[in-house]
Symmetry: C2
Subunit: 389 residues, 2 copies
Amino acid sequence: MPRFPEVSARSARISGSTFEKFLPRLRQHRDGFYKLHIGDSDRGPNYVLPYREDFAAQNPYAFQYANTWGITRLRRAIAEKLRDENHLSVEADEVLVTGGATNALSACVHAIADPHEEILVLTPSWPFFRGMVQLAGAHVRELPFYCELRQGSIPRIETYLESAITSRCVGIYLNSPNNPSGVTLDEAELTAVLRVAEAHRLWVVSDEAYDQMAFDGRNTLSPAALGVAAGQVLTTFTFSKTYRFAGLRLGWATGPRTLLEAMNKIMVHMIYGPTVPGQYMMVEALRTRREWVPSVQAEYQRRRDDFLDALALDLHAPEGTYFVFFDAQQFLGKEPIDALVARCIDAGVAVTPGEDFGDDYRNWIRVCFAAEDPERSRQAAVRLREILA
Amino acid sequence: MPRFPEVSARSARISGSTFEKFLPRLRQHRDGFYKLHIGDSDRGPNYVLPYREDFAAQNPYAFQYANTWGITRLRRAIAEKLRDENHLSVEADEVLVTGGATNALSACVHAIADPHEEILVLTPSWPFFRGMVQLAGAHVRELPFYCELRQGSIPRIETYLESAITSRCVGIYLNSPNNPSGVTLDEAELTAVLRVAEAHRLWVVSDEAYDQMAFDGRNTLSPAALGVAAGQVLTTFTFSKTYRFAGLRLGWATGPRTLLEAMNKIMVHMIYGPTVPGQYMMVEALRTRREWVPSVQAEYQRRRDDFLDALALDLHAPEGTYFVFFDAQQFLGKEPIDALVARCIDAGVAVTPGEDFGDDYRNWIRVCFAAEDPERSRQAAVRLREILA
């Protein structure tokens, strides 16, 4: 029983980042290091933000509590974007603005899963989603999927997914473009996942953080727009990636109204509501997106190409996101992966150990090609190649 | 089992606001109404905010992910304030910046209570705290306290609290100045509560949202500064009340490092971190607080006096906060409380039913004297007096 000085068993259950054990090592680099281990852009927004002296006068309600679903102006702008860019039939009242996509996903997990129930997590996956399921007292069932699909080792998605669904399963976590692998599912692949959800009455949690961040002419697709099981998909978005404003902590969710209502009630008891001045700031960013989103996409594709050229490894080029995820087994010999990660850090290149992304990726490594400016990214790739060689 | 289209039992368990049933009635007032039912100030910050065109240039990292504990500059400014104004021995690394005090309290509840454990909630209490305990799967044990203390019906706090502590109890929720009653506990009263916590090894969750908002020469006191059981107190603060920036959604917690670490891990899985540009904005507000906090306090006291004069009921004047909470039993006759609340709303005065603040306050009413400008507040008080008469 958690009584002072003990804390709850719940908090002990949440697995922190594997990377933490490398932090003391990282801190020894007083002159800096290449931070390929984080998932953020080195550049801020490339649209105009209303940081003007008349902000308060122009937005007199930005200081007060607002509708916990989000301000109307922003919800309308989001709904318009979702209809136009994601082909989702969404009205403003089907948009729930949240404290980042993290908050949307956390509220969703709490809204669909009770303790001891299970969510099928297609891996490799963003580590925090697994932590949220643990926070909610539910179980994660990991299923290696994205890399395996591209390696051709999943002959039929439906059969493969069905083999992993237990009687306790309430939902599937889907993330395309996928962090960390960059795999961007096409319509047939997404439809196959949706058919399984439909047949088993599972919620689909579609994490679209990397919306509009696919390369080589690919489009990012919203599963809820594909005409299969659309009513059981909850989709989350963020202003942290294409909109390059991770610091703002603002995102949103759309989906069936009953689920959004449950999520709102949960969100209110986690944060009350998302930051209000930030909501006023993003209305124009959404409205002007056609002017700047294509250049962001093109820029990331160029940076991916330059990074891969400098890295010069035989890799499947990421189809989206700003990550490169690769199996480091071939470079290990008898060296354990932790020793390799430590060697990278000692040489000034911070990388993320694959273990954070799922049990099956212990010997993999993730690097971000957008967290340093292009020239430093190239230098980091060259150095990483030398370490691995 | 929650499968599509069902949501979790957890979300159904969280009791929403009693006020919701009155919303359709409120929406009939197209020409507006007196909104005494909310807990917010009609005025924005009375300190200068850095909404300037050079904000981005001055704060180049405000766009990116930051330390999830908060930015160093803000944590230092908070620690300085806590030492100077609250007499707490706190260093910057003992400050956890959060997405509002709501987020701090929610993370704290999840960090100290596992499902089926109990938190003793002294009532009347802020309704969202009870919802957080429900979200965490734990139980609320309500104990009427603040009003009863002022009515003289609690001869000895220690004996009274001990009678309510069960074997499942892990903590006590304390909130002084108290929303809704305005009761502001003195040193002897707080010390008595702390002694009980010490004797039973209970965590004390001290919600100090109304820090610096006490009247008639009273000081708001931080229990963790009183020298009893200091190591088992977790204290939360907000920028929403004295700082009048509820829209920002920023607050903080301080307490034992082990508990803060558990809270940070939980918070990261609810929101990742609090809004970063907002953190940069509040550094100056903290540094200049001596220049403007006294005038905010004096202004609220004046507004309380004017409101009470116009209301002209025989009430214990609130000692702090911007609420008046009173037993409406005497005005009810055979009319149920819901009918009285409906009559208030129909007459254009929105009030909060007491049920939201605890099972023992069903016939009470809370009104806020700061949510409308002073003249409208006076008008609302006069109209309320007429309804009750």
